[in-house]
Symmetry: C2
Subunit: 444 residues, 2 copies
């Protein structure tokens, strides 16, 4: 992409209306534009990052055998009346009357609708487990939307639902998502910690929130800090392996404020290991048995001939919110350097040549380098404007392209000035740079 | 994918509520499920087809230099009041009041919102042309939704918008989309004919509808049938080349009933070439100059220092509707054989072994074949149930998997029974089948 052709409306200064750094950066580099209170359009740069995150989320859902569907945004109130949540949900639910005066709503979540799909399709235990997910826009009519896409009204979410024949099987499904979430966040270069959490309006008695540390987070968290040293390496899709993974994490105290108990915390965690801080919720998983299958009458035939309500769980990841969460974790707003993980960077490589007005030969020279990296599938942007070199570098630091090739006056011979954003440059040949980037690409 | 694990709820018989064959087939093989009047959930089979269509649409937009963004589904009424369309749009617009009692709406189209994005971002002719598109859910509150996803209320659409500094440049942008649409539909194995069309509520004076022939179509069309022999081969993104392409198509009379004039038709088209039939609209492009940029005050600086309103066009493809349109074009409902184009088939290959109850060795044998095709990235489904062979074959004919490997009692040695759906089988080695499928994959 030539930056002169790209739709990247960059602002000179931080927008005054934005209070947290993700909101500031996203407006500053033209990733989003507000269209009305708590509702945003995603411009090319923001859209690309969100799509790359979505792809990773999708791949990790598919790996545990979840199947993708797509439920509509507008739902009938009928099924919400069946479950009893139509009245409970309150003003956060965007309620709509259509031209026939039917009561509709913009789905804030999909337990009812997916249960309706399930009950009309699956009749026997033989077809279980079923793990279904979709990635769709949701609407929650926040009374005070704020912090850009972190607490907005229309947001993009992956929500999955599991259907099993017994509590034991259902917990196995739950644990698959537990693993899948750890892997998903790791691929996004985030350390997300599973914390025992309240189930809130979703219901049930087993639930984990996945939280990343951030000063601007809205969740207060209390942990044994040794939990940050854990990871899911070695865990596989197997009952025992996943139970062990859960135990490994659950040996350390780790809760959000709703579950916090001072006495327990101080008893279970040595003072030197106590960490009280703030975090951002990026995922939330729930097990709630027959809370929806019973009122909605979603039952299957059991081996002996009897019928029973299926046991369900639900599993959410805020895909649009993750864009902001990664910025909160990776943006140095003092230095104005954003470090996108390679896996989701809006571009992987920026080519930054010095170009004087009326002298197009400099651009011609670098066009071949640009075409080379495009041809090997490196997502590359070239700055073909006549801005000065240091403004260009600042711009790409802010956009957060992780690697840069800088071609100034001094450039000569076969060596190119290549740098990882925020680090010292190296002089490398095009073959050496190609090797570095293709290896990174293969890993991500 | 093992069919025993797949969420593909197949019905034994055609659903009586469905009147046209796409609606029948989509319900029959579990591609969609209605959730309320004119609103559908997409189950795994339908979702996969729609995503493959979306990918082709996206690739062809990117090829002409259009940049992808994503506008929200819920819009403020303010900008629609600026353009004057808030009152004009009538009951098809789903109007919503949020908890603060603000007038909102579910976007039926996005001319206003994209113009708002443009005017706040682009100030100079130097940044033009800009081609922006998004693929997003829309809502039109049809008074009588019918024919499944062909005339529904919530639908998935690609809409693009062009911004230029002069009428001449704007027509060049228009022609890029003209070419892009011909290529898109060709990749979907559809013969879509551009027809001079009325502009309706979008406005403007230059417009083409892209229509495919189908008895169940709602558009009446009048053409010189020689237009069906044309294609876009040889056309490139160049002013002259695209003008020639337009002229080539426009030499033949081809209109929908809104533009039909009997006298003209009979004068311009020899009787032997006249074709009066029905079709399905799958795309629609519009040029409307400053119809939106003027009331919304979207102007740019011109070279001489003056300002002028940008010249705009808009370009739609019904992504969800295309799923139905392809079925209308390719489904033989007498023989119950669906022929998905390879490029968008829900699966590319079905492996259909004969399996007796209590004899799992037959399945073990074919598992290796299945794994081979999965490993070389052929989208494969295997029927691991103990249904009889002919029911299995009928099922995959209906689902429309274009290639089948059938492993019955007689199978022995290295040769496999391989067939294109609806054609005669051949006995081929696994290497020969691999060659056929990988070549098809590379072409699509």
């Amino acid at each position: 992409m030539y930056i002169s052709k790209a739709f990247i409306p960059i602002l000179k200064n931080n927008p005054s209306e934005a209070k947290i750094k993700s909101h500031q950066l996203m407006l500053r580099v033209g990733m989003i534009k507000q269209s009305s209170a708590g509702i945003y359009s995603w411009l090319p740069l923001g859209f690309k990052v969100m799509k790359k995150i979505e792809k990773i989320v999708r791949e990790e859902q598919n790996k545990i055998g979840a199947q993708e569907i797509l439920m509509p945004t507008i739902q009938s109130s009928e099924i919400w009346k069946e479950s009893g949540r139509y009245d409970d949900y309150g003003d956060e639910m965007l309620r709509i009357k259509d031209r026939q005066n039917r009561e509709m709503l913009y789905g804030p979540t999909n337990e009812e609708l997916v249960t309706d799909i399930f009950r009309s399709s699956i009749k026997s235990y033989k077809s279980l487990p079923q793990l279904l997910y979709h990635i769709q826009w949701k609407f929650r009519d926040e009374v005070r939307p704020r912090f850009g896409i972190m607490r907005c009204r229309e947001f993009y979410m992956k929500d999955a639902y599991s259907f099993d024949v017994s509590d034991e099987d259902a917990v196995y499904s739950y644990n698959k998502f537990f693993l899948s979430y750890l892997k998903t966040f790791k691929r996004l270069d985030l350390t997300a910690i599973p914390m025992a959490a309240d189930t809130g309006p979703i219901g049930g008695n087993l639930s984990h929130e996945f939280v990343i540390l951030a000063e601007t987070g809205e969740s207060k968290i209390f942990t044994d800090k040794r939990i940050f040293d854990l990871d899911s390496a070695g865990s596989v899709i197997d009952r025992k392996s996943l139970e062990d993974l859960r135990k490994k994490y659950e040996q350390f105290y780790s809760v959000t404020d709703e579950k916090f108990n001072k006495e327990e915390f101080e008893k279970e965690v040595l003072e030197e290991n106590r960490l009280i801080t703030k975090g951002i919720e990026v995922g939330h998983i729930f097990y709630f048995g027959d809370k929806y299958s019973k009122p909605l009458n979603a039952a299957v035939d059991l081996p002996g001939g009897k019928k029973d309500f299926v046991k369900m769980g639900s599993y959410g990841i805020g895909v649009s919110r993750l864009v902001g969460a990664i910025i909160e974790a990776k943006y140095d707003d003092k230095e104005e350097i954003m470090k996108w993980p390679f896996s989701v960077a809006p571009y992987e490589l920026a080519i930054i040549p010095m170009i004087n007005k009326n002298e197009t030969s400099a651009l011609d020279k670098v066009t071949n380098i640009f075409k080379h990296f495009e041809s090997i599938n490196i997502d590359t942007i070239i700055d073909d404007t006549d801005e000065n070199l240091s403004s260009k570098i600042k711009k790409f630091n802010l956009i957060g392209v992780p690697y840069q090739i800088i071609i100034g006056k001094k450039s000569e011979g076969d060596l190119l000035e290549f740098k990882e954003t925020g680090k010292d440059p190296q002089n490398l040949t095009i073959d050496q740079i190609t090797k570095i980037l293709t290896e990174l690409k293969a890993k991500n």
